[in-house]
Symmetry: D3
Subunit: 243 residues, 6 copies
């Protein structure tokens, strides 16, 4: 099967990091196609950037020329999933919801450790509207912007572990989710430092996406995610003729 | 004061309908500047179109050349408010939240009568994340698309009154909200047909926006809606150099 | 238009403070009529006093001889609004709900800073039954009784700022509400000390009340707030023949 | 032990009906003292009347000359309990909360059958603030005012049974609560007609009140229900010098 | 009347402690029959042990040879109540729900002080599914296992008081519940140390059970708790032929 | 990898049906070991039977002699998962939670179609404590007992489709879950009849379980699901010496 993994920012090095993580967890026979939007910000930390990314992500998916079986959106709390669900047939998953799904299977409660405090609200809202917030013990911020994760990985790791430990000790989290696509690959080290299972969102999304495709299940088209009726749309798609 | 009223679709006749309604309710001394996005769909009924509209709306606001005091987003359940809150200083209001605020001041519960069933979820989510969903008795669909409201106003009115009456009789709604910017101007007729107060979202947003400006209150910049840090952004703004 | 502003306690100096604040925020053409109950306590900090105040407030409103357009109840978490909604036609607003409405328009979450810890529950319940509690980050107590605010304003201000700063730092409040009519006029100083918007309940209620009246909207009479059927009522009204 | 049973309206025949029911369920050695307010309405169906009743009830309790062990408030959704909890030492219970407590012990869900639709909101709010609403399947109205229950008991009974059956069949209620003090004594007949346990609020409050007194438990005075600090109170008590 | 009091563990000394507490609070004429399961663990601190206890408890009740009026389950957060409700006619109560019922009658909020942190989730879930969690301020752990309460009562008492005081000071609990059957008898000492009412679950269950029996109320058999249809059951009952 | 699939009743033909479904969806290299308890009922429709099944299931797992990687519990709303999570290292999943996880990935809301009305509460509680209930549109009953599904599959199918269609039309469910292990294999036919995706719980659990094992994730042992400390346990295990 072919899974499109779409970064939400325009930084190709981050796309590559995610793609490597995705390929490490994919089953034999699963092809991971990593896409980077050509519209939007090089890091997504705000609602403004998140909304740009939603359009950038939809653009790169609708102009992808070949068939595919599922889409993974590499943003933790970013917009865009619902739009993609309307525009495609196969399952569309984002790494926030997939992290929460997996976390709920492993422990009674989970916490998310993310980047900046200003992003906490967006993640809480995403989990709330996904119907997965009830067992969330906390969403904690390291104070670091997305791009700082790449610039200074050692400081970033220390900040993540610090908040992760507090989530376990103070919020009674039993599982941890890494709340940014840019934290891909840190799961084992954070698990070693805290003694609890740590969910990597990319790994979660790849394996859950494969599960859905293997079961032959696709997005429900009965109502909310039915294909849009034709409209007059100006300026779309941004980069190329649609499929 | 100057208030920007931004339509979420590209249909200028709808912008004009909203603007007329806004000007009817504005205080002397309030200038309503009506803006239409140059990017996006001519009617917004889906998440795909809503996400396009968010970018279109942000684009038309950031490229507006003159100062302004507040922004009103003319979409009922559409994306974009949070992005605008980050990008501007003055209050940003959308007509869904303003309708709900006003409705809560007038009765114990309220219902929303909107366009298509597929939009109900987006409106419920918008009210939920706005913290205004607890007293919502129901969000009811007429089955009509946004653009059909203009094309066949008599059928539309009958469908709205039918659902409005059910909301009152079956869901015990005490106040009704018209759940689409394209329903502007129907409030009095629906009130006459149902015997309950009916809130027009544009009127609500204009008067509440004026209230905030008169009190000198602006969007909190302490955390979620702080201005974005500078990023490398590709393809933005869509239409012109930013302010 | 004429707005009745009703204090919930019998201390006329507090009525005057509130009235001054109301007049400062009222539009030209709005007359603020400030009323003080002749029944009840000189400060309201308990359920007992709050229930007395509800009757005192209804008494002073139903015996007011002239027409009016709206009523503002100057209590933060006090009883009485629902009774007044039944007894009058125009909108009835209390300063707790109006503060929360305005706060929700300005930031993602809000906190209330109020007087004594024993009043926190009443405020939480008021916000809950008003359908406005979901985005309340906290209700914090200064430990001061209502009447102490007048007696020692400097200590009171320091205590308010202390709790306000904690609400921002620890509870991630993005907007603050001053949770007592007696705190009217402190909003700008608290905003300066904390860096977040601060809502004055009297100002909020006056401007929102004006908005409703300008839109021609009145309390829904379809069910909960319909006029009471005639009953045999003993001892009522307390002070004079009813209108 | 001595229990004060306080009617919320001024109709002494209703007080006597309640008192008879209370005495039927009281243990040997429990004295039921039935009190009727001298202030307020002869039937309570609205918030206005409920707030008057709260003051009437507090008045008749604080001017009662002898010691007592507990207070039962005979209103289903009426105001006043919190005030009485501040003013007295022993437990204060109202029949709405006691009905819900007992219902939760007997089945997975319960419904309330009450008088007028306009009272449904007050009952829901009372159960919500009592922390007992989660398992409430519905609050259903018969459309009858409180005083109509006495005037036409056969019609009233039929209307109650009709709503009771719907609560069981449509809302999956497993236990029923009679949502008005004036329905005292109908529990067995409604149980026979529906096949589910029916809770009489007076019986529930008397037996639960006795349980608390026997355990030596009294209202918590640590915070919310501490005795009010002395204030200047005008016009209080209404009927006689306080204890 | 005869009430079966069933311990959830196999430690007969704990059964006796509970029985003594129950008899101290029972009315004259109430016979307390204390039963100890012959299957399961000598202390219940985990879900595994709780599920064993549910079967042990059902076994000892269905093989009890004589009639009885009510059953009290001596576990705080343990499984089994629903099964017993199906298997018997009279009321079945557990000490967790009864503690919460009583606590809600005495103050605005309550906290539970229990044994190990690992049991907190089970207690929260029990209160949630009982519909009694809304006003729970916290469930706090002493870090002690059930059997340690008996082994070292002085250390246990100190740990309980420490957490009880924090519940009052930090969580604003107004009433405390002792969250383990093995804490029976400590209520007065903890109340003296904290200044708030403390509920002993056994006392609460005995007096509430008596109340229900006196009112002639039994478990609703309309749906969830109807007697099971006959099935082929292997290995049941564990200890003797059923009634 | 080896996955234990444990039926919750003692009917081996149902175990075989589930095992066949599981093997159909398992990846190459996954061994499905199907186990049937030797204790409990031949069909589980009640809390009594569910609690027996929990012990029967734990017994058959702890006495299974060989290593395994994950456990799937074939009950929809039955007890036992938490106990198994304490007793084993690898992931433990039940088909109710797995169905809900998959459903949430495919549509905005889901409904469950199950057997008898009396089981609806248990399923709702299971989804609630799993943190997956928020987006559940309804749990609907066909009125059929578990064993009737096998006895009369055509009637059963019709009843399931009838409720499934109502869930879509009346409750706006966008995805359906088959709420009983005995409905395994009907998913495609129900999907064809309703036009929405239908989740088979066994398929969901097998593929999700494989995902977790492939990611190397195991149950969190930090708190709630830590291994039980040694206790004196009478009568356990039921069938053989433990591992």
């Amino acid at each position: 099967m072919r899974i499109l993994l779409v970064n939400v920012n325009t930084t190709t090095s981050m796309t590559e990091t995610m793609a490597a993580s995705a390929r490490r967890h994919a089953s034999p026979g699963t092809e991971i196609v990593a896409l980077t939007p050509t519209f939007g910000a090089d890091g997504v930390d705000t609602a403004f950037e998140s909304l740009l990314s939603a359009v950038g992500v939809m653009d790169v998916v609708v102009t992808y020329p070949d068939p595919f079986d599922a889409v993974i959106l590499g943003g933790f709390g970013e917009h865009g999933r619902e739009g993609l669900q309307e525009l495609t047939e196969g399952p569309v998953l984002d790494i926030a919801e997939c992290s929460a799904h997996v976390a709920l299977m492993l422990g009674r409660t989970y916490s998310v450790v993310t980047t900046m405090q200003r992003s906490v609200g967006a993640i809480e809202d995403r989990l709330l509207t996904a119907g997965l917030f009830d067992r969330c013990a906390s969403v904690r911020s390291t104070g670091l912007a997305t791009l700082e994760l790449e610039r200074d990985p050692i400081t970033a790791f220390d900040a993540i572990v610090d908040q992760a430990r507090r989530a376990v000790a103070e919020d009674h989290a039993e599982v941890l989710c890494l709340g940014c696509g840019g934290m891909a690959g840190l799961d084992e080290a954070v698990a070693a430092a805290t003694g609890v299972p740590v969910v990597d969102g990319i790994a979660a999304a790849v394996t859950l996406g494969e599960s859905l495709v293997r079961m032959g299940l696709r997005t429900s088209k009965i109502c909310t995610y039915a294909p849009p009726d034709p409209k007059q749309i100006t300026g779309w798609p941004l980069s190329a003729p649609p499929r």
